[in-house]
Assembly symmetry: D2
Homo-oligomer: 243 residues x 4
């Protein structure tokens, strides 16, 4: 298994708070299986909001982004990374605005599907850390999981860690272990996959017509059966005079 | 302001746990402003899962539901209620399965829009309590807020209360106060609205064509401006040879 | 019922796109019941990200925000408004980054609870419009519903409208009607509540101890019953030798 | 790479609808890389709701579940599977109640962490299909992603497929391709990982104290710096007389 590079992204303005602490622990987990790591503090970069070019012209959204700002540095880091760990404070049951801008600007990679048939960050491995004084961490993590997976990223086992109270991360054994394992798993899965050259999306499936034909027949049979029991019972309701 | 009736729905199997406790407190809040209240333990009712008639025949889903089970009793309660407070344990960042079945079965009221132009539970007032040993409460509450509002229910101020740790509800002053106010607000807003006979959805807007015409002109003007600055910048990217 | 003021917030960079169109329609709905309205394009304002002061010092987060930018203008608008309609494009199953910054910066109003016992925007009425070429609208709206309600705002019936495909808003009758009714309902409920001076959160409940005492007795009784049937069955499992 | 077994779980009552169709296509994708597959229709099984034993006694929730019903059959299937594809109709922006019960009942596997230190379904690979006539698919998928990952499952690239309109699945090329690739990726990643015997959660990290010590020093340095610039600016606000 080759060497891997894991990028830690701190989306909190406080590089001494719980998001930062758990992220650092996660990166140690990544190092424990031989990964090279780097931590970037998003708030130190000037990241302008996405301006939604794709809605005006779907082919306009492509790498490099039309906006010339510090994302150019971060784009390079993301491309280089085999794994990515995002740590965000929970602001209103959601990511920080700075992280939202970062995420939105990653669209240039994903939209390369339209341009050249392949998302540029497909197959990378990702984990998410969310911390807050209160609840909302799962809503935040869920949203990022769906987002990252829709960009083709892989979520390894136990790829979430969080704190939802005012405790200091250093006093929260669960969060410490979860973060360490999260980092370890991101790096571990990235390492395993490093040796495989997998294209994770086939835009043409040779025998798809034949496959669909078979399934259609099967579905027809199921439907015919439903037409005998389920459907009549349901349709009778329309004339239900008791309503 | 007339008298109101607030229905408390306990979706936990444990009528001695935190969901139950906070729900009881909420109902006291409702009583404090003169509401009549009732608490039902969903687990004591036999509520079968929705079988999705609406996908076979959109007009088949109507009150009363084709399934003859204890929902018939609960449907009556829901119809009678001016306000509804749902208390659920958080199972996997989501409602309990029993509550899910209850929610799904309410579709018969909502689908009356298709049958006769009006949702039967529109305009009622609702609040949500979610408790768990861990996070996920906001994801659960958010989902219910969107669902209830899509059935035409009103969410009064501070209509959410929760516990996301192993604390006993009776020892959690915040959750106690939040629940009390939640109940009070559900009843209070229901009382205020009791005297108004409002139809909250107009399916015909008399002058809609004229309105749209005006807006179209305005949007055209905005678009013409965009064609001079924003769009050319974006479209130029398609031919960006640096890509 | 007095006059009300409804603020429309366009969180899309495109003031000729679907978010803008539906927002304009919603504002017409608000006008139809006598509301004064105003539309602001968030992208025309310089809104810096929240820097999370509250985590360093809970009393530091207060109005006016320490950050001196265009939010000062928007804060005034929000305070003045009786109702608020937020229209956002869906970027990665979530609000635009610009809207996220706007939302996060509203914390100064909510945190006045800590400073002086009352959220400054409590009791206002809100609705949400979300548009995208694809899914994610409900996740976006749900998150905003939970957020706005946690700031004390009221969600009137049918306060959501959305588009989740590439259709032009002007060709989508459902979205047009939903938006119009959304605006109407925000204004209508704001009008009704204008005459009431309601404090929606009581931080002291006079007889709370007595109330809790009664509930505790009731819960004890339930628990005693559970100790006879439910619990023994469950606890027996621990010694289940078949495992 | 060894042979793998992928379990398809249809959570729709209609074995002729879009959920079923896309699930079948996904299973063909799994077969295309040599996987053995099986499809189960959840509605054909009697799955009672979880009764939350874990809240009464954390060690009571263990495999086999105290409830004796058809889950016993499904538990066997889940244990045997290397990959799992869940297809659900979207009922109120969420899974069907039958699927909710199935998910909740999987807790017996996850809670084996408490009993014997390891989740029994850790390391399996999962994908999610959600279909509806309307929006809510992403909220549904997000919730399942967070849930499955919290049970230790892996989400491969592009592990989501959905339909959010009334189109027939067979007429939706995107959904067909997405489903096929989803199934292929679940099987492919399961195959790759089959040869590795990885324990994905280390509950003891040997040198954790030393690691934390290093991080604490680093955080202290960051905090000291903040004490000189960031914090004073923020704290000054408390005495801000302009408020």
């Amino acid at each position: 298994m080759g060497g891997v590079y894991v990028l830690g992204i701190n989306a909190s303005p406080r590089n001494y708070g719980n998001a930062y602490k758990l992220l650092r622990i996660a990166l140690e987990g990544a190092k424990s299986v031989g990964s090279e790591v780097k931590l970037v503090n998003l708030y130190e970069y000037n990241i302008k909001p996405c301006i939604g070019c794709v809605s005006d012209d779907q082919k306009a959204c492509r790498y490099p982004c039309v906006i010339d700002d510090d994302m150019r540095i971060l784009y390079e880091e993301v491309l280089k990374a085999d794994g990515m760990i995002i740590a965000t404070p929970v602001y209103w049951f959601n990511v920080s605005g700075v992280l939202k801008n970062f995420i939105d600007r990653l669209t240039v990679f994903e939209n390369m599907i339209i341009i050249e048939g392949r998302c540029w960050i497909e197959g990378k491995v990702a984990g998410v850390i969310a911390v807050g004084n209160d609840s909302g961490v799962i809503m935040t993590i869920s949203n990022l999981f769906a987002t990252l997976n829709s960009m083709g990223l892989i979520i390894p086992p136990w790829a979430l860690a969080y704190i939802n109270s005012k405790v200091d991360a250093f006093d929260n054994e669960n969060a410490i272990l979860d973060s360490y394992n999260l980092g370890r798993n991101v790096a571990l899965l990235a390492k395993i996959l490093k040796d495989y050259k997998i294209s994770w999306y086939e835009s043409k499936v040779d025998n798809i017509e034949k496959i669909l034909e078979t399934i259609k027949k099967e579905v027809s049979k199921n439907y015919e059966k439903a037409l005998k029991d389920r459907i009549p019972k349901i349709s009778a309701l329309k004339n239900n005079t008791s309503v």
